[in-house]
């Protein structure tokens, strides 16, 4: 036997006693139902190493990455760097939260359940919606599920998507839509109003390019033909902007990562999902509810489970089980830590930094901002050279530039700013862009 694993407490003596109780000679006897010729295949894996050795190896791997602590980074596009107060990590790391599971036994899961109820409450308060679930995989899948839900509610098969919705989100939507064979219909904002027969109009706010869509007009266009308005909203922007619920959105989704979670190469994140009360029973995902216990005291349970796969099986609203609970918990703690004034402050800082940067970049020779309208923390800048060349030059100066969107807007770059960027950081970027333009 290999060196004993630190995670297996059984000693050889324990094992012998257990085998004797079971009444077999060896552990191999317990696997006798596996066809003998197929047992114990050769498995080629690296030799095991100790924690200390592996940390050295992993540190070497980590060192092959450029990280945003050591380099300035101006990427956003669905994954956002924000300052996370230490209290968030300290609380989320508690084993009592991290190593519990889905609260199937509510009496010993009140911590998880009450935190979920808090999460649902804060998502409703942030989005201006009536009800929310406990979380989806991420913002992209939350959007896809919202489209499926719209099709169920309206009995229609056509999903109309504004072109300002992130292409990655639209790709995920297309994957999900291929199951029930929904038709995806991308349109420019100019082509509103909608045709009859649309299940929903899907809008991203701010849109992929960072600019605000006219949600009032979108709501009117959707509702005029009996379609639902689905809004994918950035939660940090909701610290400042009127929430989608106030415009009459029927379903609001969003990427929760920005609320207290690391960018972590794209996951784990959490999808926010809220809707109007009347659609509650069509909502996917877990939902916590407050009830009373046998002694008349309040307590929390998972509820409305007849929507879900473990009860309804192939007729469930979704196959989803997870709620990305721990990521959602970080959102809850982050929102509570920032509170009413803090979130507004973060949102305003993002807005101000982006606008300062935009003004400086627009003033550079050879650079311009091609889009009109109001933006939040991201905007498109068009430079004199392809973004790939610009970014390569920036990287040599320790700067990870904006997202290359040359394929959609020639020489276009999507830049993102947050409270993490000081004026000095932005000035460094501007100077670097200036020098690149002239190279």
């Amino acid at each position: 036997m290999a060196a004993p694993s630190p995670y297996i407490p059984s000693t050889e003596t324990d094992r012998r006693a257990m085998l004797a109780t079971v009444g077999v000679e060896s552990v191999a006897d317990l696997f006798a139902e596996i066809p003998a010729a197929l047992r114990n295949p050769r498995i080629v894996l690296p030799e095991p190493l100790s924690e200390m050795e592996l940390k050295r190896e992993l540190a070497a791997l980590a060192a092959q990455n450029t990280n945003t602590d050591s380099a300035l980074c101006f990427l956003g596009a669905g994954s956002y760097q924000h300052f996370v107060p230490a209290v968030v990590r300290a609380l989320v790391s508690r084993g009592e939260f991290a190593t519990a599971y889905t609260p199937y036994q509510p009496e010993v899961s009140q911590g998880t359940l009450q935190a979920t109820y808090e999460f649902q409450s804060l998502v409703c308060q942030l989005t201006g919606m009536e009800v929310a679930n406990s979380g989806m995989y991420d913002g992209a899948t939350a959007l896809a599920e919202a489209a499926l839900m719209s099709a169920r509610i309206t009995g229609r098969q056509r999903v109309v998507v504004l072109e300002g919705v992130s292409s990655a989100y639209r790709e995920v939507l297309a994957t999900y839509a291929s199951g029930p064979d929904l038709v995806i219909d991308p349109i420019a904002p100019g082509s509103l109003p909608l045709d009859e027969g649309a299940a929903c109009l899907v809008v991203q706010q701010p849109n992929f390019f960072g600019y605000l869509e006219d949600l009032r007009r979108c709501a009117e266009a959707a509702h005029a033909v009996g379609a639902l308005l689905v809004v994918s909203a950035d939660p940090i922007s909701l610290g400042l902007l009127r929430p989608p619920g106030h415009y009459g959105a029927d379903i609001v989704v969003g990427e929760g990562q920005a609320l207290g979670n690391a960018i972590s190469f794209g996951g784990p994140y959490v999808g926010l999902f809220a809707c109007r009360q009347e659609h509650l029973r069509q909502m996917p995902g877990r939902i916590a509810g407050r009830t009373l216990d046998a002694e008349g005291n309040p307590g929390f349970v998972l509820t409305l489970q007849t929507r879900e796969q473990h009860i309804r099986r192939e007729r469930a609203t979704s196959n989803i089980c997870t709620s990305e609970q721990l990521v959602g918990l970080a959102c809850t703690i982050y929102l509570a830590a920032l509170g009413r004034t803090g979130l507004r402050q973060v949102a305003e800082l993002c807005y101000q930094k982006a606008h300062y940067a935009a003004a400086r970049i627009a003033a550079l020779p050879g650079w311009r901002l091609p889009m009109e309208g109001i933006f939040f923390q991201e905007f498109v800048a068009v430079g004199p050279r392809p973004p790939a060349e610009v970014n390569a030059a920036l990287l040599r100066q320790g700067i990870i530039g904006g997202l290359d969107i040359d394929g959609r807007i020639p020489n276009g770059m999507l830049l993102c700013f947050s409270e993490l960027h000081s004026r000095h950081d932005i000035d460094r970027l501007v100077a670097a862009l200036d020098s690149v333009g002239g190279e």
């Binding site: 095991p48 509570a336 300062y356």
Partner: protein
């Protein structure tokens, strides 16, 4: 706890954040704005209220620590939820996942700046292939059920690519977890249930009857949810394949098979793994997890995007397979979870992982033998990683599986899964995992024995359990009938 002790005074639950909010308090500080101010958007685009709680940092910490202490968790308690594989989660994995070199890396950075991360993901794809015998993997699915959906869409794409558009049906055994039929339905398939035989295996004659040119695939959990290995798996595979269908393996219970067999050799074409279960990442109270999907070579072109490939110059790249079902999540999978699974595999190696399945199966059989006379064992066979018992005999005392579960809480144990699989009446599904000591398993056995005695002697004590939890038994019917799903201000 003593059986006849006075019921403890329940401490009750702490007040909600919004109810403890006091204007002016806050738990964070932010820098003042260091750039010249631009005008904000017009007022009609701005919100006039932001109803978020206002608390100090100390209050915030005390509140959430109080909440945490209301949970049972693997870190505090034996947590034998069947099919959930609640094993111990090594702490150093969490530390590494928090390193800036991994956590502070943006998913859209140029590939040249994320070679460490891509190399790790590439290796993990290879490790999972080495463990399953299936050569191609996508780490993109974000949870087990998400992997199932990917797998179902892969089967749909594969059948369509072979001109088999009429194959619109997926077969699912009656022991299957609810996600299986739900995932098949989400992918647009019809679902036909295949019954189990008296031994808990797939009924082969029923399977043969169900096979026809409309069947696209069979979903089978290995071992099945009764904790039993399917001894006829090769025959099942033959029937499926001869009928032109694919064999989908649900790897939720892969902890039983680690290192014991290549599921590819059993005939599996498409498989998902639950990394949070078998590969020991914290379950988080309900996620995050990761549900990579693995396939045979001819099916690899349909894998969800992205997958990691290595170029001739040794650099790593995210690519989309040529006939991919498409992107299934916003980015490239739950990296923080994938990283922890990588750490687990590297620290145990092939022999260590085999030891995991051996001990997990030995521990489950140990409980099976110790408990088979305490509770009824409907399928009296060697089990794999879990054993399913029935409390049906206690119905004579008006005690149900539910009551036993609630009473276990008073003994300091998290209850097992109850009422699943559906084919076992009053089911209690117990999965001990390899990380529990013999002493814990003995104590758990003693607790269950004591509870069954109580069921005969003072059943009302079980029906009103738990007595030592922060709340008494909760009214789930009321919760569904009168949904209270969010905080609202108290009526004036």
């Amino acid at each position: 706890m003593a059986r006849n002790a006075l019921p403890p005074v329940r401490r009750g639950l702490p007040a909600l954040l919004m109810d403890r909010s006091v204007p002016g308090r806050h738990a964070s500080t932010l820098p003042v704005c260091d750039v010249p101010l631009s005008p904000l958007p017009p007022a009609d685009l701005l919100r006039d209220d932001l109803p978020l709680p206002e608390v100090s940092e100390g209050e915030l910490v005390r509140y959430f620590l109080h909440l945490s202490q209301l949970n049972y968790a693997v870190d505090t308690t034996f947590y034998p939820l069947g099919s959930c594989t609640m094993k111990y989660n090594p702490k150093w994995h969490d530390e590494v996942a928090g390193w800036p070199g991994f956590a502070q890396v943006h998913p859209l950075q140029p590939e040249a700046t994320v070679q460490g991360t891509l190399r790790l993901l590439y290796q993990l794809q290879q490790f999972l292939s080495a463990l399953t015998g299936l050569p191609a993997a996508s780490l993109a699915p974000l949870a087990g059920a998400h992997g199932e959906l990917a797998g179902m869409l892969i089967i749909k794409a594969y059948q369509r690519a072979h001109g088999q558009d009429q194959r619109d049906t997926i077969l699912v055994p009656d022991t299957a977890h609810g996600t299986n039929p739900a995932s098949a339905a989400m992918a647009g398939f019809k679902v036909v249930t295949v019954p189990s035989d008296a031994q808990g295996n797939v009924d082969l004659s029923a399977l043969k009857d169900a096979m026809n040119e409309r069947v696209a695939g069979l979903m089978l959990t290995l071992p099945n949810t009764l904790g039993l290995f399917e001894p006829n798996v090769l025959e099942v595979s033959r029937i499926i394949h001869e009928g032109g269908a694919l064999f989908y393996g649900d790897g939720a219970n892969f902890n039983a098979l680690l290192g014991q067999v290549h599921v590819a050799d059993l005939g599996v074409d498409v498989l998902h793994l639950n990394l949070h279960k078998t590969f020991s990442t914290p379950h988080g109270g309900g996620g995050p997890g990761a549900g990579p999907v693995l396939v045979r070579e001819p099916i690899a072109r349909h894998l969800p995007a992205p997958i990691v490939q290595v170029a001739e110059d040794g650099t790593f790249h995210l690519v989309t397979p040529e006939s991919s079902i498409g992107r299934i999540g916003g980015f490239a999978g739950n990296f923080g979870v994938l990283l922890r699974a990588y750490c687990y595999i590297r620290s145990l190696g092939a022999a260590g992982l085999r030891e995991v399945s051996e001990q997990a199966v030995l521990s489950a059989n140990y409980l099976r033998v110790l408990l088979k006379d305490v509770l009824a064992l409907p399928y009296e066979r060697t089990c794999m990683h879990e054993a399913v018992f029935s409390a049906a005999l206690l119905k004579a005392h008006d005690v149900r599986a539910h009551d036993i579960a609630k009473r276990l809480i008073d003994y300091g144990f998290h209850p097992p899964i109850t009422y699943f699989p559906l084919i076992v009446p009053e089911a209690l599904m117990i999965e001990p995992t390899e990380t529990e000591s013999k002493e814990t398993l003995d104590a758990f056995t003693a607790a269950l024995s004591s509870i069954v005695r109580e069921a005969r002697e003072q059943p009302e004590w079980l029906r009103s359990a738990p007595h030592g939890a922060p709340v008494a038994r909760l009214d789930e019917a009321r919760a569904a009938r009168q949904p209270d799903l969010r905080w609202r201000p108290a009526a004036p």
